[in-house]
Amino acid sequence: MDKTKPTLSVLDWEGKISTAPAKDTSIYAVELTGCTRQFPTPGGETYFAVRDINLKVVPGRFVSIVGPTGSGKSTILNMAAGLLNPSAGSVRSFGEPVIGVNRRASYMFQQDPLLPWKTVIDNVSLGLTMAGVSKAEAYSEARRWLEKVGLKNFADRYPHQLSGGMRKRTAIAQAWIVNPDVLLMDEPFSALDVQTRQIMENELLQLWQESGKAVVFITHDLDEAIALSDEVVILGAGPGSTVVGSYEIDIPRPRDLLDIRDDPQFVALHREIWGRLKIEVSKTYQTAMAEEGDVA
């Protein structure tokens, strides 16, 4: 893997920003500028998923995007990943326009992304072997990762032999082993039960703190967003939603996720952000009710 690690220079860069703001565009891990995405509907009309999205993620930062149902959260993430082209606007990663898939990024999907016909270790080492790393080397790196996520005794199992939490861990190892500079996560833990979910969130934070990678994390759960992030971005009600607010989360790290919900800082931030999000959520709800009324 010849992915460079710009994270080491984050501090230099933060020092330079006041003196050389012109370098801006080359340094954001993810930068969406004026991104709009529309889809044709079966009825021949145009459906705007998101409109005029501006999002800047500095390397090493954990940014969550929260929005009501149908606010185009996944659309934004897919544009950042290069899996979806914006209809208008530009997507850049470390200053380079994203053409095809974003080579600097890994993606963690909401659904199960493991290849069912490959064993755990073959799944985890896939990114390396496809990049031309020798099998022996890829396997030893994969073993290291499996140990990290607590699955070293499950290397030869097939995904269907694992629990949901174990599959998620395998997916984490699979996404991190290629050492991406950006991690795009689309509600990765939403399918897990509450306890497993908290454990996974804790493990994710630990991994991330050691790594200094940029994370864009999609969730509809405001608690989760505040607990994990440096910044929470709120999307408006869809369709054609856009960013309606951005909040700095300055709760000191390392954070203990099991107790954080009682932290007074957490409570205050939650109240403030929920105040804004609530408006969008009720708009979405009213639209849905109105549509239901139309149908009835």
């Binding site: 899996l83 080579r103 993606y107 659904q111 992304p113 290849l115 016909w117 490959k118 496809m130 699979q174």
Partner: protein, 254 residues
């Protein structure tokens, strides 16, 4: 019911049916000309096998079936993958493929006899038309129905188009292809035998047609019996191959 008890019951059922057949022929209820005694059929089978008479015929039939299967599966796989990946070609060729698939294949046998002669190639061509469509449609469906997330994930992990094919599309399509493998192997043999029956100089189908020509019903039944056993053995082998290649699949509890 335990597996052993089930097997014994199945054996009893076989004996009962064959015994009833044997007795009703001996009692004169059923005409022996149309339904020869099971014991006589088995004896004919034994004569065919012990004298070695049937083996050259079996070998010819197997050659035809194997060639028809290999060529049909290879072309079906290739075209299936290409059409699944290139939307334009799929839309272009779809009506033609549907047309040929709608054609009852037996009507092709006479024309193949004219084109390819009495030898094995007319049967291979005939078996090909049967195998090809099954493998083709299953491959097409298999590749098209691959989980979007698996493809996106592999692409994010850096897969090239070739690697996508190797790690995602082919294994995924294999499940579909294997579910049709039993049918396509059966069709390859059907193609060979029917082709031989309609015109040939060797093969089990030819042997059956010869026996029929001299009103030797024992021979017809003996040929059927031998084919049945051979197809059963092949099906068993296919099962083992399938179990090996699809070992990653969760075991379905019955």
């Amino acid at each position: 019911m335990s597996p052993l008890a089930m097997r014994s019951t199945q054996l009893l059922l076989t004996i009962a049916v064959l015994g009833a057949w044997e007795l009703s022929v001996r009692a004169g209820i059923v005409d022996e000309f149309f339904f020869p005694l099971p014991s006589d059929i088995l004896q004919t089978v034994w004569v065919w096998v012990s004298s070695g008479f049937v083996f050259p015929h079996l070998w010819v039939t197997m050659q035809e079936a194997i060639l028809a299967f290999l060529v049909g599966a290879a072309v079906g796989l290739l075209l299936g993958f290409v059409l699944a990946r290139v939307r334009f070609l799929e839309r272009l060729l779809d009506p033609f493929l549907q047309m040929f698939n709608a054609l009852p294949r037996v009507v092709l046998a006479p024309i193949f006899l004219l084109w390819f002669g009495l030898g094995i190639w007319s049967k291979v061509a005939f078996g090909f038309t049967l195998v090809f469509f099954i493998v083709f449609f299953n491959t097409l469906e298999g590749v098209k129905s691959v989980d979007r997330v698996l493809v996106d994930n592999a692409r994010m992990l850096g897969a090239s188009e070739k690697q996508l094919l190797r790690h995602v599309f082919i294994p995924s399509a294999l499940t579909w292809i294997f579910s049709s493998l039993h049918i396509s192997v059966g069709f390859a043999i059907t193609g060979a035998v029917v082709g031989e029956y309609l015109g040939a100089s060797a093969g089990v189908g030819y042997a059956i047609a010869q026996a029929q020509g001299v009103f030797d019903t024992q021979g017809v039944f003996a040929g059927m019996f031998i084919l049945m056993i051979v197809v059963l053995i092949i099906d068993l082998l296919v099962n083992r191959l399938e179990r090996h290649l699809l070992r990653w699949r969760p075991v379905q509890s019955s």
